[in-house]
């Protein structure tokens, strides 16, 4: 059974909302919201269905969080956006918020934010007032985990916060220079969780930390299963295990297993999708060979199937960034991706075929799918 979907689209030049009919066939684009603002993430709270947050900045102005408590009808700026304490011993200042995560279902109003430079912030009031999480931001190893010179072309980032749906105290972070970090006390203490995850760019290829974890996702029906798209491959970890398995080894050699994101199926723990990017030579980070395609596994990563029907057969040089690929929970699953060329593509049949549902937008940074309403 399908239902109407809202895609919340963050771009380099503002935000848009793309809404479907119940069959996900017809789409209607609203926007722009905050034209010219850099919107790294645009998220709706699944707990109340109406609070929306955007991580915003502009080319000139400092970062902020934009909030709506009425489903996007009206917006206001956070009273106190994420910021380090004045006099921070490392002189840090938030350049931009990158990831916004609604807290655990048992903690309404709690939100988490990951920033550049890498740091974790928490709000207890629906995103209005933000406080730093000292257990991470003031950790004795914080400059080892997040060296100021490390990071992406847009700076080092704490690129993802993931909350265990069974336990609000249990969380994972994905970071660009310390790999995956885990806490079991809601952020008071942290430890790296990177065994067997490769670092092609360090002298020790399997360090305790130093990995660039692009994206992690818990299988919705089995939160002990973690999928990871790393800078250096596709991995899977079944907890309480500690050692990641490089399931990307099963990808075709000429495609490789480099990419930005991985999307688990809402109901099937064995199924996930990746969007491979060219990681050879100078790391072009475009669709390999100019032939865009998703790859799907239905057996936990033991094998992968190419899904390219509908995409250009040649000269398609899409890049899909880490927050710009997502799925819904309908049956069949809908998949959505936004490209750096400002196009949105969808599949209504779990990746078997794809069609373009928007074009001519600015460079897309994030796409999140929520039930319309």
């Amino acid at each position: 059974m399908t239902h109407a979907i809202q895609l919340l689209v963050g771009t380099r030049k503002g935000a848009w909302i793309h809404t479907s009919d119940a069959g996900r066939g017809r789409w209607s684009l609203e926007g722009p919201l905050f034209l010219g603002q850099i919107i790294n993430h645009f998220v709706r709270d699944p707990r109340d269905g109406r609070t929306m947050l955007m991580a915003a900045s502009t080319g000139h102005l400092g970062p902020t969080i934009l909030r709506s408590t009425d489903g996007g009808k009206t917006w206001a700026e956070a009273s106190r956006p994420p910021a380090f304490p004045k006099g921070d011993p490392h002189g840090r200042a938030v350049d931009h918020s990158f990831w916004l995560e609604p807290g655990h279902a048992d903690e309404p109003g709690v939100w988490w934010a990951g920033t550049s430079p890498p740091a974790l912030f928490r709000s207890a009031d629906g995103g209005d007032i933000w406080e730093g999480v000292a257990g991470l931001n003031e950790h004795p190893q914080v400059l080892d985990w997040f060296p100021p010179e490390a990071g992406t072309p847009d700076g080092a980032i704490l690129n993802q916060v993931v909350v265990d749906p069974r336990d609000a105290r249990h969380m994972y972070l994905a970071t660009c220079s310390a790999g995956v970090l885990e806490t079991t006390d809601q952020g008071a203490t942290w430890r790296p969780l990177n065994q067997n995850v490769r670092c092609d760019f360090l002298p020790d290829p399997y360090p305790e930390f130093g990995q660039d974890s692009h994206f992690i996702a818990l299988a919705p029906t089995d939160p002990d299963r973690i999928w990871q798209q790393n800078h250096c491959g596709i991995y899977r970890l079944d907890r309480p295990g500690e050692r990641w398995e490089r399931i990307g080894e099963a990808m075709p050699r000429d495609i490789g297993d480099i990419g930005f994101t991985i999307i688990p199926h809402a109901r099937d723990r064995e199924t996930a999708w990746v969007w491979p990017m060219d990681g050879t030579e100078v790391w072009p980070r475009v669709s390999p060979g100019g032939r865009p395609a998703a790859y799907r596994t239905r057996d936990g990563g033991a094998s992968w199937t190419r899904q390219d029907r509908g995409f250009p057969a040649e000269q398609g040089w899409f890049t899909v960034k880490r927050q710009a690929f997502c799925g819904d929970a309908a049956d069949p699953i809908g998949l959505y991706l936004g490209t750096t060329g400002g196009e949105i593509w969808m599949s209504g049949d779990e990746g078997e075929s794809w069609r373009q549902i928007a074009a001519h937008l600015p460079e897309i940074y994030s796409v999140t799918a929520v039930p319309a309403g």
């Binding site: 502009t58 080319g59 000139h60 102005l61 400092g62 902020t64 700026e77 009273s79 956006p81 910021a83 380090f84 304490p85 004045k86 006099g87 921070d88 002189g91 840090r92 200042a93 938030v94």
Partner: protein, 87 residues
Amino acid sequence: MIRVSIPSQLIAYTDGATRVEAEGATVAAILDDLDRRYPGLKFRVVDEQDRIRRHMRIFVGDTEAKHVDVPLSNAAELLIFGALSGG
């Protein structure tokens, strides 16, 4: 009172006004006074360590202020600009 020139990037805070007035003996004090009346404005111009953001420029009269401790002695005007950025 000091006259303050507001750039286009910040007029969403000042209800569209490009010229306002504020009180204070330093750039920091002026920004604090502006922030009281236009909440959120200061953090978009200077960071939490009181550094002027990379793509913002502040002038006291015709002299650029490189930090917020610059005094406004005898100056009648503070100008905030959005510097070159974007594309």
